[in-house]
């Protein structure tokens, strides 16, 4: 009987979940900046395969996550999209000072679903579009980098009225992906897997490097799984994933 077999399988699975994995396996809760979503998911899978520990990921803009951390959110690790907030977390006593390091350096890309729209900085100067999406520059480092880039090219004031802001870089991507904004500044990591559309990798000299820092929060100081995750994040295996998603890593800068 098919039904009986699948029922048995379901109960078996349930039992396995309830019993947990290997006895030593733990769990750690991680706050992850939205731009790192795909890479973090893959790293968490690899982490689980290697150590048996489970990384539970929560995504949001760095600003939103940091506010939650200051209000005693149960996160044990903070993977920010900037260097400033992990530093602040240490200064304000939420994080373990010596644990802070740069896990990735983000790349900014101007991206459109329209295969012909984005050709380079000329696209910004010509301004032949109605809406350009960026992430909220106050809360999301990729938004700040987008503003810096436009200022460096001297096109910021002319584009300003056409800007729309996503509350995180994920939402910014959504605005462009649904076609509501013709183009926008997103993280290279978000579009690295797709061939469609057109893009311009913004040259690094136009914006300050987006150093993305990780830090161990005091809530996770005693958790073995949290320490293991940070160690894993520096391993060649994780670095390969990080690079594949379009980031440079700490030692390359």
């Amino acid at each position: 009987m098919r039904l009986r077999t699948s029922l048995a399988a379901a109960f078996g699975l349930l039992a396995a979940i309830l019993a947990g994995g290997p006895a030593s396996a733990g769990q750690t809760k991680i706050a992850v900046a939205a731009n790192f979503t795909d890479a973090a998911n893959e790293i968490a899978t690899a982490f689980k395969a290697k150590t048996g520990h489970e990384a539970v990921l929560s995504f949001g803009s760095s600003g939103q996550l940091y506010t939650q951390i200051t209000q005693a959110a149960p996160f044990e690790i903070f993977l920010s999209a900037d260097a400033a907030r992990p530093k602040k977390a240490v200064e304000e006593g939420f994080a373990v000072a010596e644990s802070r390091f740069t896990y990735a350096i983000g790349k900014l890309v101007l991206w459109s679903k329209d295969g012909a729209l984005v050709t380079g900085e000329a696209t910004l100067k010509d301004g032949k579009f109605a809406k350009l999406a960026i992430a909220d520059p106050k809360a999301a480092p990729y938004g700040a980098a987008a503003i810096e880039t436009m200022q460096a090219l001297g096109v910021h004031d002319q584009i300003q009225p056409k800007l729309v802001q996503g509350s995180s870089i994920t939402q910014t991507y959504q605005f462009i992906d649904t076609g509501n904004a013709e183009l926008g500044f997103v993280a290279l990591a978000q579009v690295v897997g797709q061939d469609a559309g057109s893009r311009w990798l913004v040259p690094q000299e136009l914006y300050a490097p987006i150093k993305q820092d990780a830090v161990l929060l005091k809530t996770g100081a005693e958790n073995e799984a949290a320490g293991a995750f940070l160690a894993f994040l520096k391993s060649p295996e994780a670095l390969a994933i990080i690079e594949r998603y379009g980031y440079a890593h700490g030692d390359q800068s």
Binding site: Y66, A133, A139, V164, G166, F175, T178, G179, N180
Partner: protein, 228 residues
């Protein structure tokens, strides 16, 4: 209060404009709908009522997601926006009005429908025997008798639009003076840890909500009094 940034007042004004326009549209659109729901014998009318009531149950993200697609260049919104040379209705005040009308609809239609149902057949039959045309009976009998329902509907529709957040966040694009309403401004302040501004605005919202609820209770009391 003088030290408050002008952008806060822009958000306050925008929110009031959005809520007022939405309420007005909802009263215009919702009244015939509520009338039909109250009096029709069609078997599928409860299905229509259920569709109207959907935003009560659905998370705003569902509506926000559908709207983002529908307002965009590949949906009807993009078609409409094309008339004045735009590509999308998202990120516009008009887009927010459309979203708010859908989102607040049950709060307006339901009280009006209840009020019409409470009026019942009898007064209208009496009006008919006095040779009032159906239209005249509607305006001079049904609407005045249903007045408490209209008041409740207007207050609730307005208040609920002011309190809207998820839909606006998803289709608004956070443009000051265009789509950055109060709830989104509060979200921003919290995210940036500007507690002072967040506190002032959030406190204002609490006072507003309390006033609305009290006003509602008063309206209902007064209307329930015989002879009112």
């Amino acid at each position: 209060m003088g030290a408050l940034a002008p952008e806060i007042w822009v958000a306050v004004r925008l929110t009031i404009e959005l809520a007022a326009l939405t309420t007005l549209l909802l009263l215009v659109l919702g009244t015939p709908l509520a009338w039909w729901l109250a009096r029709s014998g069609a078997w599928w009318k409860e299905l229509v009522a259920a569709v109207v009531a959907l935003p009560l149950v659905l998370p705003p993200t569902v509506l926000g997601f559908y709207l983002l697609v529908a307002l965009g260049p590949s949906g009807p919104g993009g078609l409409i926006a094309g008339f004045w040379g735009e590509r999308t209705l998202a990120f516009t005040f008009e887009g927010l009005v459309i979203g708010s009308v859908l989102y607040s609809m049950p709060f307006v239609v339901q009280p009006i429908r209840n009020a019409f149902e409470a009026v019942g057949e009898r007064p209208l039959e009496v009006a008919a025997t006095l040779r009032a045309s159906p239209a005249r009976a509607f305006w001079t009998v049904a609407v005045p008798l249903a007045r408490p329902g209209f008041l409740t509907a207007a207050v609730l529709g307005f208040a609920h639009t002011v309190g809207e957040f998820g839909v606006v966040l998803m289709i608004g694009g956070n443009i000051p003076g265009e789509t950055k309403v109060l709830s989104v401004a509060i979200y921003d302040y919290v995210e940036l840890m500007q507690w002072r501004e967040a506190n002032i605005l959030a406190g204002g919202m609490v006072v507003f909500a309390l006033t609305v609820i009290l006003a509602m209770t008063m309206i209902e009391r007064r209307m329930a009094r015989p002879g009112a």
